[in-house]
Symmetry: C3
Subunit: 132 residues, 3 copies
């Protein structure tokens, strides 16, 4: 499970870095807390962080569950694709929100693969009559 | 644990579907990213997704911890009640935000049960002198 | 793992309580759902809940992973520091958003320690040639 742990922790660090970029954008574009609107560029950084939060909370359990049934190194590899997708998403969204689709797909696809793999594994285990 | 995994993955899929509804509402009601306000119906879908995120991040760890001390099938059943509650919440909130209380309670109650069960299990384990 | 479970559940309960404060502030300051803006004090409670969500989803996996390599009681202790930091953050932010830095640092530092500890543990395991 060490590879899963390492990739999972990298996802946490990446997410915290996106949060730090939001904090930096607050100062740079003069958006005082608790406001989260008022400057278009700040809002882009804020939406990147929120969207990453929304996907990370799906990635981590999906990666853990998939790794319970299949080779954890494959699950970790899917996590790496997600990490790359998030970097692409950050760069695209902050330049032009309209171009965010590719980075989004690159993050969502490995998550979908992990969910399907986990469901298949759990279903086979249940149908196989093993102690659930 | 296979039942926990299956219900956990269903919660992830349900949440991703709520996210897809937000994306669809963006197009339908003309709310351009990064904005999250400007149309009342869009905001309802957005709040359903956010509220589901807020509860799902509690449900998953609570279900896992409770399953470490009690029959995982009971914990998975609590998760199913949560899933139904979220469907009720979606339908009620998007029709009329004022009617969202029942779906909310139906999602929060199993979470509360899981938390209490987990705390009881962990406390008994610690008091029982077992290696923590 | 019982200590990790107990502290993890306390983090969930604390977060749900912050959510209840947002619900209460909705009534008190007349912010009707789905709006999340319109009253400065309400927005502070809302931002406290959101910021706690943002950190809690990092704390929990980091605590679990660190506990897989080091004494779980140390990981649980880091979780307790986070819990105290969140209380400080709530009190400071709702009084004056400008004074939120100390509570924030007090919550982020144990998370950073857990992430570094987890990375170190996982890296040593991989380098040590143990089955990942």
């Amino acid at each position: 499970m060490a590879w899963i742990h390492l990739v999972g922790l990298l996802a946490l660090v990446q997410y915290l870095m996106f949060g730090a970029l939001v904090g930096k954008a607050r100062g740079q574009y003069g958006v005082q807390a608790p406001a989260t609107t008022g400057n278009e560029v700040f809002e882009r950084y804020y939406r990147v962080q929120m969207n990453t939060l929304e996907l990370m909370v799906v990635l981590l359990p999906a990666m853990w569950i998939a790794a319970a049934y299949w080779d954890p190194r494959w699950a970790a590899l899917a996590g790496v694709v997600y990490l790359v997708g998030r970097m692409v998403y950050l760069r695209a969204y902050t330049r032009d929100p309209g171009s965010r689709a590719m980075g989004f797909m690159l993050s969502v696809t490995p998550i979908a693969v992990l969910i399907v793999a986990g469901m298949l594994g759990a279903a086979l285990r249940i149908l196989g009559g093993a102690a659930p």
